[in-house]
Symmetry: C2
Subunit: 242 residues, 2 copies
């Protein structure tokens, strides 16, 4: 399983992904699920993935390979994030179609995946898309400024309670990390390290990336403070009486 | 969908259930999912249900009808909660077997349900069981003093953070209501009113029941205080910095 969250806010974009993949509880590995494409002063694209690892790796490989060829449509050519989402969706369909057609027998294997694609291309504001296993997609709006993929339920309530479009990027990343912490505690198939990125609108800068490990002092501080804060808040609630 | 939670603590048992059932978003109704069987000074049994409503209603009807007959094994005859769970599991299998065999064609209908059975029978301590759609069951222990059925993920993190076996019944009910509140906010198929019950160990008293509606002053108070407490806690966390 996986948990990825991305937020599209007034100041820019926030991304956070876990890195655990598993095929059964005894086949666990670490794979980065956050991929960044950057061309100076022109575009920053961030792709997060959840689902079949063979599918998501192939999509990323094909997208990257094609960026080195001028003869094929690729992510360095598109002029809007919408066109980028269309291209990623088409690549997703291509991979799933290829891999599922190769099956000699009817198979119950799920080749599907969900992707989050966020970023900015010069001439546009930052945008964020959720691309479905069918290759179609939806875009984040002012009303719904964030998307989650993978094991999303445990970490959803905290985001719904605190995130608005005007939340600062630094607070939003704190919220994303708390959301992931709630998920880590409840689901073993979501695991550290985390890959996170802050993208400030109009910066066209991809340097806001960081890997958050088990002993990251900031993550440890907010996990502890959040847990204690929840417990203090709970202790102050009036007990039920009939 | 549904959300039910039950807790088996040092002081007794706590139960809370929503009441929404739905077959599609345009077919929503209110059904009580918490059923109490009581015989003075001898037994209190509480059954909560999630899943196919036809199945769960039939199980409750059969269990209640058979309590009025001395010739059939019933919940007034069993001498342990374990035997009660066995009987409920057998009734569950009987109903699912009956209804799924009646299908003339292969059907994708899910006749299954999950049940929580808690209570006390004279001679034993209070106990709590989770009965699966297969009719088998597990029992709550000191390490895992609570069970959830239905839409359980949104409301799990808060329980994991605050509940211990030594939590008082009144605090535990507060925790259960907060857990349900988190679920209500995230999933439309879980809805008010709630049916809740506190059972104090060795009381053999079923009077600790209450229906919690939208305008219940206690529920409104803790929802507001919890939401504000979370937001205050969040505001005090240090923002992320790269």
């Amino acid at each position: 399983m996986t948990y990825c969250v991305a937020m599209c806010l007034s100041d820019g974009l926030v991304f956070a992904s876990d890195s655990r993949t598993n095929a059964g509880v005894d086949h666990i590995a670490t794979f980065k699920k956050l991929h960044v494409i950057h061309r100076d002063k022109d575009r920053v694209l961030v792709l997060q993935s959840a689902g079949n690892l063979a599918t998501t790796q192939s999509i990323v490989s094909l997208l990257e390979t094609r960026m080195r060829s001028d003869s094929e449509p690729n992510l360095l050519q598109v002029s809007t994030l919408y066109d980028a989402a269309t291209l990623v969706g088409a690549t997703l369909r291509e991979v799933i179609d290829r891999d599922s057609r190769m099956q000699q027998h009817a198979s119950t294997t799920n080749f599907g995946c969900n992707l989050l694609l966020g970023g900015q291309i010069a001439g546009e504001a930052p945008r964020l898309f959720h691309i479905y296993p069918e290759g179609n997609f939806i875009e984040a709006t002012r009303d719904t400024p964030y998307f989650q993929i993978g094991e999303s339920k445990y970490g959803k309530p905290i985001i719904d309670r605190v995130l608005t479009r005007e939340t600062t990027l630094e607070q939003a990343m704190c919220c994303a990390l708390i959301s992931i912490d709630s998920t880590l505690r409840s689901n073993l198939s979501v695991g550290l390290p985390l890959d996170v990125m802050i993208y400030r609108a109009d910066s066209f800068d991809d340097s806001g990336q960081r890997r958050v490990t088990e002993d990251d002092p900031y993550f440890a501080t907010i996990r502890k403070a959040w847990s204690e804060g929840l417990q203090n808040t709970f202790r102050q609630l009036p007990p039920f009486s009939l």
